[in-house]
Symmetry: C2
């Protein structure tokens, strides 16, 4: 069971131990760069184009160049991209926070569409990228990849970047698009990871119907068990806090408990070979629906903003990281010998990404629209274009999968591997910068005035005018919409099947879940207003 707890930043120099101060150098530089990104991101906030992700990517690349110049072309990075840091430390807070802050009503209203895009769409995209790249590479005369590599490419480039999507789409301005694209991103990440693992485990070079069935079964098993695990841990946290903390609150313990339970859901999922991304996402949703209502006023404010801040830091960290690693000179040297091939590989892959996503978004939107009766609920063509476009961004998940497939311990000596890594980097940089920058203008052009759904805009306006904004309401800002929507739900019940589900869920939630696990209106120990509450209940 023993293992060495070595440090992410290597040994500590400075005042303790050896005089080797390089790691402390690196941490200091990295923290300073993170701060720079936040400052610049803040100053550019009014800008129509930029956001922190792109700023971080650019700063990362610039720093890489500076290091390259100062070290005389020997090295461009202060760190080696490690997909494990990404998957164990950086991704969980981001995805958890997304679940914690997501507008649950929007998300569940579109749940079927999201799952369709996320699961079936990713599969379509995977098949097209696999077949297309194999065909085109053989035409181009690139022969260093085997079938397994092509399958891996399909999985790697099917992973939409949910992190960047969070930044280019606004939950307030375009709630439908946000919940569709982001929700899809989460399911899609999970699907890609499942596919990728399946490729590494099964022998997929000869696909038979039995293997296809096994794959489907494995996916369904993973999807449901991961979701259930997340829900179970979320409910457990709600129950523990409701039962044990009854009447005698301690804010710091509550906050610690929520943080640790959230992280526990992720590592447990990884331990059982499930999808940690799905688990921690649903854990976040359940925690915001139940646990969050059982804690003190101070804990609510703290968790809401602390989770957001940790997620924010992780996001910037990832982009800075990707930007800095992009310039690693070793792999570019190998590739530089045959620039035409390199450009060919990148172009083919980019084309396949565009094509694969088009082949999934437009047909699936058509199918999804068939099940919607009201025109107002259908995904309009212009919206489909935005969904297609925003989902083209490839990010850190693609990077991590590519490094996992094509490198050994961060090094890229083999020529074929160097090509694959560099074209992954090219596509990640290109798609993040170009598609990322152009999403906001595209939305303004296609949907002037953000007309999205007028009723939701009204809800948002109401939410904004509530007293104690961000304190008394749900982190997902659900409170205000509920009271208004309840009669609408009853009407919808007669016309739409998904709302019947929602109606029964609401009954079940009010009748059983909330009395047991707590939740809005079922926190039995503190009567009165939030202000009174913080007077009497605060630690």
């Amino acid at each position: 069971m023993g293992f060495d707890w070595s440090l992410p930043f290597g040994g500590l120099g400075g005042s303790i131990g050896e005089p080797d101060a390089a790691p402390v150098h690196s941490i200091t530089l990295f923290v300073a760069l993170l701060l720079t990104c936040i400052l610049i991101g803040h100053l550019l906030e009014k800008s129509r184009w930029m956001n922190e992700s792109i700023t971080a990517l650019v700063i990362g690349v610039v720093t890489g160049i500076l290091i390259l110049v100062t070290t005389g072309g020997k090295s461009s990075r202060i760190l080696i991209f490690d997909e494990e840091i990404f998957f164990i430390y950086l991704l969980p807070p981001i995805i958890f926070n997304a679940g914690f802050q997501v507008k649950k009503k929007q998300f569940f209203r579109n749940f079927m569409t999201i799952t369709l895009f996320g699961a079936v769409g990713t599969l379509i995209s995977f098949v097209i990228i696999f077949l297309g790249s194999r065909k085109l590479f053989s035409i181009l005369g690139i022969d260093f990849l085997d079938t397994m590599d092509f399958l891996a490419l399909g999985a790697i480039f099917s992973a939409t970047d949910s992190v960047c999507t969070l930044q280019v789409l606004s939950q307030e301005d375009t709630p439908l698009l946000y919940s569709l694209v982001f929700g899809e991103g989460v399911v899609n990440d999970a699907t890609s990871v499942v596919l990728f693992n399946a490729i590494q485990r099964f022998d997929l070079s000869h696909i038979t119907s039995s293997i296809a069935l096994q794959l489907l079964g494995s996916f369904l098993y993973l999807f449901f068990t991961s979701t259930l695990l997340g829900i179970a841990i979320g409910l457990l946290s709600a129950y523990i806090i409701k039962k044990l903390y009854f009447g005698r609150h301690s804010t710091d313990r509550e906050v610690s408990l929520m943080m640790l339970m959230a992280y526990l859901s992720y590592v447990m999922a990884e331990l059982f070979d499930l999808s940690g991304i799905l688990t921690v996402f649903f854990c976040g949703i359940v925690m915001s629906h139940y646990t969050w209502h059982n804690v003190t006023e101070s804990s609510r404010v703290t968790t809401k903003h602390a989770f957001a801040a940790l997620s924010f830091i992780s996001e910037i960290f990832i982009f800075l990281y990707v930007g800095m690693d992009a310039l690693d000179i070793e792999k570019w040297r190998i590739v530089a010998k045959s620039p035409a091939t390199s450009a060919g590989v990148s172009s083919v892959m980019l084309g396949m990404v565009l094509l694969g996503r088009a082949a999934s978004v437009f047909p699936l939107s058509f199918i999804s629209n068939l099940f919607k009766k009201s025109d107002n609920d259908k995904i309009q063509f212009k919206e489909q274009i935005i969904i297609w476009w925003a989902g083209l961004i490839r990010g850190a998940v693609s990077m991590a999968l590519a490094y996992n497939q094509f490198t050994r311990a961060g090094y890229t000596q083999l020529q074929g591997n160097a090509f694959m890594i560099t074209s992954t980097i090219t596509i990640v940089l290109f798609s993040t910068v170009v598609f990322g920058l152009a999403t906001k203008p595209l939305i303004r052009w296609l949907l002037p005035g953000h007309t999205a759904r007028s009723s939701e805009l009204e809800d948002d306006a109401k939410a904004l005018s509530l007293p104690l904004l961000g304190i008394s309401q749900d982190p997902g800002a659900e409170t205000s919409t509920d009271n208004i929507q309840r009669p609408v739900s009853l009407r919808m019940l007669l016309t739409k099947p998904t709302n019947t589900v929602h109606y029964y869920w609401r009954k079940f939630d009010d009748g059983f879940m909330r009395p047991v696990f707590g939740g809005r209106g079922f926190t039995p120990f503190v009567p009165g207003s939030p202000i009174e509450r913080s007077l009497h209940g605060g630690k």
Copy 2:
């Protein structure tokens, strides 16, 4: 500049990469144990004896035993103690939070006494432990240590555990003792680290007056530059937030900025070979005095509780870690061959710790009392006993320094080294459990009714009755005491020199510092009450 970013928990098993799931196992187990400690700590809260530190230590030891049994005596730990994790990741949040939440008035009123105890006291303790252990070990016939080792022992066992002290002394019940013992602990940690580094750098086997002067110079240089760096970064954060965020607040950015700046202060200090502990402590004090007042209401609540929660998790982590590592079988096997020697070493060291601290606390209290005119401000003998007793706890800093001196990469093969490591563990466990458990009863016995300082108790009572407790006031709870104490300060000005300093500082603070860096009463952009503020200013 390149280095490998390996993981604290080794490779990630689970859904990505290799099937080796041991690290995920370990993380999951560790997170689950942390949660268990929080739950048990909560359930035992009403207990007079226990606290989370001791719970964590006990759970760590029990888990160690379980692992030892299940692996058939081969291994007792899921991790190897690494002083770098401790110094880079776990210690900074604890010390920063201590600075952030410390009652500044108490701290600065006793600043001279604290520095006296922390610097001179540690030096006395160091000399006594060094000389005493060398003498007694030669009598016992233990001959495997050289002068350098004895010097290192002096530094290692002079480090009071400020983390455990935080838990056994209450800032509310015994404010004077808390600020003296905890404040001393911070300075003392720094002194020990300085001494320890000096030992590893200088040739101290032949101490001359020139080396002693160099050492003194080095200590003074370190003390002042570290403090200045902390203050500078704290002020920078206040200035940035005040200037750039004027009128358009973003809570998540503010919280991220404060977190990163705090961490930056620590790593920068380490980078410049200063004392990160001192730097981050003073950065915390400055941030709570200026920066904290420049941010939104939500950010104040969030930072107050998020920093406390992170510190809380780190504390439990450390004790769990020490408890689990304590049972590592390898070093005990070596020691088990000569149990008498082992017991002798531990007893000698424990005796020296008791003696060394007595020789510093009682004489220095006497000296400190000479400078106090009012009897009410003098440190009474009973209080001196508590200061002596609570400061006997040796904790993670001692462990970290001992591992640094006596192991190579976490392994303890040499017999002499095994003895030193096991007796360090023995003393840490013994002092934490015995001295830690007995501190609260001792205080109740010596100071029935916590009479400490009646005026402060009144202030605390007033603070508790303030509206929006924990939201509208300073993290150090200074707000309420200030208004009441100001006339008292003027009176004191005539009798006591330290209060003259305080008076001029207040003038300087109000006249120059606060207008420039913000602070209570000088946040120019938000008029009105905290409630109005969160209405208009919240993100």
